[in-house]
């Protein structure tokens, strides 16, 4: 609706736009550079110039054993991220619904979640590692590692649910009850479908935050590394573009997940908009 007066922008608009452009370049520039450098030729080094173009370093990822267990850690990370996403959706969506009523202990529950969110990750990992040690349990990525990551994704999921529920119009639920729906029908056929885009958002955050998590997992993953741990070990002993190749691959995975999540949210919103006009 402002389309017509687009020509009359103040000079500050252009100053801010340039500033924003620089910020975006700062944000994406270095990342783009390492994707380009991951196609470095076999003789090439860690920086420009490009010494030919090849997929050498991507092959090195899967073939060389001396870079470590990239493939294994990749599979573990995907599995763990899927598990974290499922648990985060299940627990934080249901917990979010609880906060729509006032209940004794809600303030405690809220602050516990916030504390869990902002506590330095390494401390959480240290605490879990010590607890497992004192209990005589061994640590592994699918027990202690999973728990450690949930202390980070669950509060995040809960905050997203607060945001989603804050915009939720309860009269739809009341209408369902007035029309004779049971509690279960109301939840299943009204509340959850309306909340679906938000729930996809929770799943997106659960998956990607787990997939990239380092600080909480470092002391709790046990003997088998997740991908970020493997990459971190590489940063100290690998001085070839393999490091960039692994970065390119892992970012492609992240982007694929983001695109799938965002386009399914967009598809749902479009379908809604269409059914409203029909």
């Amino acid at each position: 609706m402002h389309g017509a007066d687009g020509d009359h922008r103040p000079w500050t608009f252009y100053a801010f736009a340039a500033f924003f452009g620089l910020f975006v370049a700062f944000l994406y520039g270095p990342m783009i550079v390492i994707y380009i450098l991951s196609f470095q030729g076999p003789q090439g080094g860690m920086t420009f110039p490009l010494n030919g173009v090849s997929l050498h370093w991507f092959y090195a990822l899967v073939s060389q054993t001396r870079v470590g267990d990239i493939a294994g850690s990749f599979v573990r990370s995907i599995g763990l991220a899927a598990l974290v996403a499922i648990i985060t959706v299940a627990l934080s969506v249901v917990a979010g619904l609880a906060f729509r009523r006032r209940f004794r202990g809600s303030v405690f529950a809220f602050y516990l979640a916030i504390a869990s969110l902002i506590m330095p990750g390494l401390f959480v990992g240290l605490g879990i590692a010590l607890t497992f040690r004192l209990l005589g349990l061994g640590t592994s990525w699918y027990t202690s590692g999973l728990g450690a990551q949930l202390t980070w994704t669950l509060p995040f999921g809960l905050l997203i649910m607060f945001a989603v529920l804050g915009r939720f119009n309860r009269s739809y639920e009341e209408a369902a009850i007035d029309l004779g729906a049971t509690q279960w029908q109301k939840l299943n056929e009204v509340t959850l479908p309306i909340l679906l885009p938000g729930i996809i958002g929770v799943a997106l955050f659960g998956f990607t935050l787990s997939y990239d998590e380092l600080a909480r997992t470092a002391l709790t993953a046990g003997s088998e590394n997740t991908l970020p741990l493997e990459i971190w070990a590489m940063t100290t002993n690998v001085t070839s573009p393999t490091l960039y190749a692994v970065g390119a691959v892992t970012t492609i995975v992240s982007f694929a997940v983001i695109i799938v999540a965002l386009s399914s949210i967009a598809a749902i919103e479009r379908r809604r908009a269409r059914s409203l006009t029909e």
């Binding site: 608009f13 924003f20 990342m31 609880a98 006032r102 240290l126 529920l165 997939y211």
Partner: protein
């Protein structure tokens, strides 16, 4: 996907605003407890209990191979006696303050641009996503992507030499405090942008017009209308950035090439050497100090009151 940006609204709607339901009845309360219980159990088991264990272990004794249950104050005494402690805290706090200042300036201006200059909602969402997406990709990869840029033979040095500005490569760019700060700003600015964007988005635009009509210049409108009304966002962003920097060890290790240290990176060394009780004591002190910093910010800005506004 205005999910994250709605977080602050969510806090207000979900927890702090008076609940819409009438008098709390018992069955409703019981239902809420059932709903929140699974999440609480996980957080208590994997966060609450482990934190109590850290507190307990900070009083334990230890030998070469194992921790020995005890109640001694030696770990704390050692911490307070050592000069290294003070140096580490000075280093961590220095990083936190510099990164806080830089991200605040960046975050405020980016949020201001998005809220007050970008007029179409679609563009606003699009540009907001452009800022948000890197947050969902790997932090380590974003960190190491500065290496080809800042290295001795990196792009920046090549450009400077190519332009004839310098004749020798600048050495301070990579593996230095400078590189650490660049990486922190790169990783954490988003945590400042989102909350400030949020509070600015709720400012009634007619207030700005009123201020302008009353004769205030651009700068005064920002200083006397926008800034005070964005206080809660600034406070939340500051809390995020300061706790992230104070709690970090991976960025400071990698980007300083081991030349700088922070409290938490020193703690990580102790853990690697299996010295759990001193590490636990150091963690306890760190949590107390960070909590005091957060409390200080909350004292300056009553976030809850601002949110309920």
């Amino acid at each position: 996907m205005a999910l994250v940006d709605q977080t602050v609204d969510g806090l207000a709607a979900g927890v702090m605003a008076p609940a819409e339901s009438v008098a709390p009845d018992n069955s409703g309360e019981r239902a809420s407890w059932f709903q929140v219980a699974p999440l609480m159990v996980v957080l208590l088991l994997f966060f609450g209990l482990p934190m109590l264990v850290v507190l307990a272990v900070s009083f334990f004794d230890f030998d070469r191979t194992d921790i020995v249950p005890a109640f001694i104050l030696d770990n704390y005494a050692e911490l307070f006696r050592s000069e290294v402690t003070l140096r580490l805290y000075a280093s961590s706090i220095k990083f936190a303050l510099i990164v806080w200042a830089v991200t605040l300036v960046l975050g405020f201006n980016i949020a201001y641009f998005l809220v007050f200059h970008v007029r179409s909602l679609l563009w606003q969402i699009g540009l907001f996503l452009v800022c948000t997406v890197p947050f969902l990709t790997s932090n380590i990869i974003r960190m190491i992507s500065w290496i080809p840029f800042l290295g001795r033979n990196g792009i920046f040095n090549q450009a400077l030499e190519g332009a004839g500005i310098t004749s020798q490569p600048l050495e301070f760019l990579l593996f230095s405090d400078f590189a650490v700060i660049v990486a922190y700003v790169h990783l954490f600015t988003l945590f400042m942008v989102v909350p400030i964007f949020n509070s600015m988005a709720r400012i009634d635009k007619s207030l700005l017009e009123a201020a302008r009509d009353a004769g205030a210049g651009r700068f005064r409108v920002v200083a006397e209308v926008v800034l005070p009304l964005s206080k809660s966002g600034i406070a939340l962003g500051s809390i995020f950035v300061i706790t992230l920097v104070m709690g970090d060890s991976f960025v400071v290790r990698t980007m300083s090439g081991g030349q700088s240290a922070s409290v938490v990176s020193a703690l990580q060394n102790e853990v690697a050497a299996l010295q759990y009780p001193p590490a636990a004591a150091s963690a306890v002190i760190m949590v107390i100090i960070v909590t005091l910093m957060v409390a200080g910010i909350l004292r300056l800005v009553d976030v809850r009151k601002e949110l309920a506004r």
